[in-house]
Amino acid sequence: MSTFFADGMTIARRNLIKIKRVPDLLIFATLQPIMFVLLFGFVFGSLAGDGDAAGYREFMMAGIFAQTIIFGATITGAGMAEDMQKGVIDRFRTLPMHPGAVLFGRTLADVANNLLVLVVMSLTGLAVGWRLRDGAVNALIAYGLMLLFAYAFSWVMAFIGLKVRAPEIVNNAAFMVIFPATFIADTFVPGRSLPGVLKTISGWNPVSSITLVAREHFGNLFALQPPGTSRGQLEAATKYTWALQHAELYTLIWIVVMLAVFVPLSIRAYSRAVGK
């Protein structure tokens, strides 16, 4: 077990060096959320009407946070696929290292990546008027849970990367799945106002629950309050499923399940995979 952590750190360092040598990835990963904050904030914000554009920007920040960290996990998947394509994985697999260390190191390096992205996004958000209105402790809980969720999800993507072995396919497939998954959720448009089946999907979508956790802990839950509704009415309408009523618990369940299923699956796939 000690080699799991020590070897994992060695691999994490290797992946961070790579980010340093090929900064395009990181630049793209940080520019994209800035672009999203500005684009969504001002384009969708205009729909909310003059008085509420600022409120909308505050509302959607949690959604952009969730979408960005989820997309961040594709870096893990694409990186794993790239490793599988290149010969270096054969070197690792003949070394006396823990079989989970390559995956652990990669997911760990991507937490560092996500941390940086969260900082850049927060600064951009603050610049367009977003505020943390529920204290530092709650904000830290929100950030912590988002990082955990992203970490667990990166094991899912690692598994996909191991199976698919082509970074481009991982990126395209991820886009096809993650894009709808992060839109049919309580992210950019309030889930409660989605039509029919989309509303049901959003109600049980873990992207909604992680977004809601963040939104509540940032104190942004009432940023977009339709005229004539009380806070109580708005909260009740927002939390229209069990998952949303117990957003922290529901999110934690997803985190635990993703880790419990995909950590062993990925390690097994890694141990069995043969390089080229």
């Binding site: 080699t3 070897d7 060096i17 090929v22 290149k86 006396p96 290292m97």
Partner: protein
């Protein structure tokens, strides 16, 4: 009691759907010796190495490396081996130094030792100047050297080299041979695969020839060469009337009778001293005033070995396999 062999493979089988990649490979590498595994493309060399280095599990058979069971104790095996695969397993984004230091850390060397060992190997492999550049910019030969250095980081007692010079230009190949020869003189047990008879001849104590996933011959380089016919000195004379003189002179340089092919005006004889025989031949012919159109040492190729050992040519097999 004789010491246990460094590598024992017994009846290894690995099939992929319809392809029998290896079909009962057995071999041994006595401790402190070099075994050359010689075979054409597709013979099953890489598959054998992959099984012995714990990368794939065989469908049948047993193997022990440095006393550990490849199937039951893969982690033990990994502690005792160094591997340099057919495709250089270096991390392109890391520098040469970072690559070796990382490998040292993953062998669980203490940090300081990993760093010192990395520098030492870079010096030894003449990669000092490129040590702090990302491996992405390395030439093919440099990558192979870095990869080989990676195999040596932990000074493992058993080393596997899968086609270490395939695809290299002659100069890099010569460099590589020197490095491997050094290694061997240090007493490490080595299993080396190659498509080149010359390479096996230079580096290996013992040779097994593989074809279609099985071992078809086993012996020392000299034994196999005798079977194949060894090196020959070949001369084409300008004047057909001097063929007989040429034969007489060449028989003084070589062993046994010289062959004459009248219509090509060519004489050839088996020799054992390579370039020295060539020089000697040139001198004798020149002194006797025999004008030479062409002269050279012809070394037996893998094709010759196959022809001698199996009665068919390696290339025909490949075409068969491809069709």
């Amino acid at each position: 009691m004789s010491p246990q062999p460094a590598v024992i493979a017994d009846g290894l089988v690995k099939h992929y759907k319809t392809v029998k990649a290896i079909d009962g490979v057995s071999l041994e590498v006595p401790e402190g010796t070099v075994l050359g595994v010689l075979g054409p493309n597709g013979a099953g060399k890489t598959t054998t190495v992959r099984v012995l280095t714990t990368l794939i599990r065989p469908d049948a058979g047993h193997a022990f490396v440095a006393g550990a069971d490849v199937i039951k104790q893969p982690q033990e095996v990994r502690r005792r081996i160094g591997v340099s695969g057919q495709y250089a397993a270096v991390d392109e984004y890391l520098t040469g130094y970072e690559n070796l230091e990382m490998v040292g850390r993953l062998y669980h060397l203490p940090r300081r030792e990993a760093k010192a060992r990395a520098r030492e190997l870079l010096r030894q492999f003449r990669l000092e100047d490129a040590a702090d550049r990302p491996a992405k910019g390395y030439s093919g030969g440099m990558r192979r050297r870095l990869d080989l250095a990676g195999a040596l980081v932990a000074r493992p007692p058993v080393i596997f080299l899968d086609e270490p010079t395939t695809g290299l230009d002659p100069r890099s190949r010569g460099d590589m041979w020197e490095v491997i020869a050094d290694l061997v003189s240090g007493g490490t047990s080595v299993l080396l695969t190659t498509q080149y008879l010359e390479e096996a001849d230079r580096l290996a104590d013992d040779i097994v020839v593989v074809d279609h996933g099985t071992v078809i011959a086993h012996g020392t380089a000299d034994q196999l060469k005798d079977e194949v016919g060894g090196e020959r000195l070949e001369v084409t004379v300008a004047d057909g009337a001097r063929l007989d003189d040429a034969r007489r002179l060449l028989e003084r340089v070589g062993h046994g009778d010289a062959d004459i092919t009248e219509h090509t005006r060519r004489v050839s004889v088996a020799v054992r001293a390579g370039t020295r025989s060539l020089i000697e031949g040139v001198r004798l012919l020149d002194e006797a005033g025999v004008e030479v159109k062409d002269i050279g040492i012809r070394r037996p190729t893998l094709d010759d070995a196959f022809l001698a050992l199996t009665g068919h040519r390696a290339e025909d097999d490949e075409q068969e396999a491809a069709s």
